[in-house]
Assembly symmetry: C2
Homo-oligomer: 323 residues x 2
């Protein structure tokens, strides 16, 4: 179990630790998207990852890093999203129980997914305080071990392996862009780039109506995420005291994008790559489309974080986007 920023060998060990339980996801390209963007783009497809998102990497690494003695009463977390499913998946691997606190307004597809992996759900009210209090009650009662969704060095090391695979698949990127919510994926990505691809610049992609990471990065303090409103429902949380310093040190910039930009990018990926991604994943291409002058002529890696979306929830009423 890591107690400080993962080193190069920590990341290598993490990758090895989880390799039997995660997919080495494919990297896709599209000539027509390259033409449109004026650069060469490589999409790292974590939508094809176990549980449909990169979160399987971090949760599995964290659970397998905990001393088995501490696992005997199971693991616990609060999450409305992919970490809830990922921790249920990881607990199953370790043969222990997973206690998941989910807000009552969690999407049905996520609730079903947690159940499918055998997670035991307790619903809380729809606010951070209730989520944390409900979790504390469960931990007190069961003795389950808490695995934070992102503010955990083993989780960060796990998430870093997506970028590591991308770099191994095709070295020499000018830029790699990852979405940023709590910062587990972005901090991990920036560490893999630092250790395995020193000349690559890392950017974060964030919805402009959930821009706490952007502001935190620029102002040098961790802002809470207050009442974020975006279709990118995986990017609502604020940075943590473990993810923030790594990002501050190793990420070159964070760019924000509008929901209409996210939807346009999402549509492009559906149409050209024929793959299903969730809105959070589309932020990275939205950044490329918004800042063509930065990416022109570059070789750019984009991390598509996941594909857990209820297709039939997408309808025109959500869309502020002229087609």
């Amino acid at each position: 179990m890591l107690s400080k920023t993962p080193s190069k060998s920590d990341i290598e060990a993490s990758h090895k630790r989880i390799s039997d339980y995660i997919f080495k996801t494919p990297v896709l390209t599209s000539q027509s998207i390259n033409k449109l963007c004026g650069c060469e783009i490589f999409f790292k497809c974590e939508n094809f990852q176990k549980i449909g998102a990169f979160k399987a990497r971090g949760a599995t690494n964290a659970v397998l890093s905990v001393n088995p003695i501490h696992l005997k009463n199971g693991v616990a977390t609060h999450s409305s999203g992919n970490h809830a499913t990922a921790l249920s998946y990881a607990a199953k691997i370790a043969g222990v129980k997973a206690y998941i606190v989910m807000p009552q307004n969690s999407k049905k597809i996520k609730v079903n997914s947690v159940k499918a992996f055998g997670g035991e759900i307790t619903f809380s009210e729809n606010n951070q305080q209730s989520r944390e209090k409900t979790l504390q009650n469960i931990v007190d009662k069961t003795g389950a071990y808490f695995i934070h969704p992102y503010n955990n060095y083993d989780v960060i090391a796990g998430q870093s392996t997506a970028a590591k695979e991308l770099i191994e698949y095709n070295p020499g990127f000018d830029y790699i862009v990852a979405p940023v919510g709590g910062g587990g994926l972005l901090s991990g990505t920036s560490l893999s780039v630092k250790y395995f691809s020193g000349t690559t610049a890392v950017f974060g992609a964030e919805p402009e109506c959930a821009d706490d990471a952007y502001r935190s990065f620029n102002d040098g303090v961790i802002y809470p995420s207050v009442n974020p409103k975006t279709i990118a429902d995986g990017l609502l949380t604020s940075l943590g005291d473990k993810t923030y310093p790594i990002i501050k040190e190793n990420v070159k910039n964070i760019f924000t994008v509008s929901d209409s930009g996210i939807l346009a990018a999402m549509r492009l990926i559906y149409e050209r790559l024929k793959i299903v991604i969730e809105p959070s994943s589309a932020t990275v291409l939205a950044v490329v489309l918004k800042y063509p002058e930065i990416f022109k002529g570059s070789k750019t890696g984009l991390i598509l974080s996941g594909g857990n979306i209820d297709l039939f929830e997408i309808n025109r009423s959500d869309i502020n986007f002229e087609s």
Copy 2:
């Protein structure tokens, strides 16, 4: 240019002819779908094909099979769908013009796609008579060579190569299921199975509100497709006098499925495989879900015909489906 039902060597020659211009598309599997269906399913993913559908195979084979003398004035067809784009693609390969007659109510995504491949569009009224008359005028005026969307032996031979690849990838299927509209894909599939996988049974999958092929197959006459109403917009046409006899001889059965069954299957493929398919593609899984007793314990190949869909056109108002 073939003047009779393609032979085994015709299909082999066709496959070779088009191999530089088409993708050998991936075959995907899903443990959770297998578990749900109680059988082992292999999805042949023609949604990842050039132009986003299997139609690239048939159109390319047909254009490359015509004597170049007849191509000098270009090629022409009428189609509201994937054949329109496929013929534009094939014409580009051959370096000739493509004249495409499309009904005025064609979907914007298909119109844009034809334009992107350089096809010259003439809009007709929204009925078969106007489509055919408009096409005849163009052929008379330009001398372009007409390539029928399915009732053409070279097109059939081209479409057959999808099943041929599936069988080569993984021999020994109990069943292979393909969607049926005009019958180009289904007749071609049945020929590849006959020549390369003799013990496999071939089924057609058809929307129940466009069930002309089902009725034709059972009654022994070609019925026209009258006022079909289904979300599977690639399967609206009737069988032709070249596709029908091949299907009648080599297909074991045609099953119909409801639009709600198609949507349920489509949702399952989006959720579990994380790939984008159009509704016509989902008919094949809908058949498996509707007739579990037939498929139980089998090894089944399903041909996903294409992925050209405007994501944001799918909304709850289309859906007669309890989620």
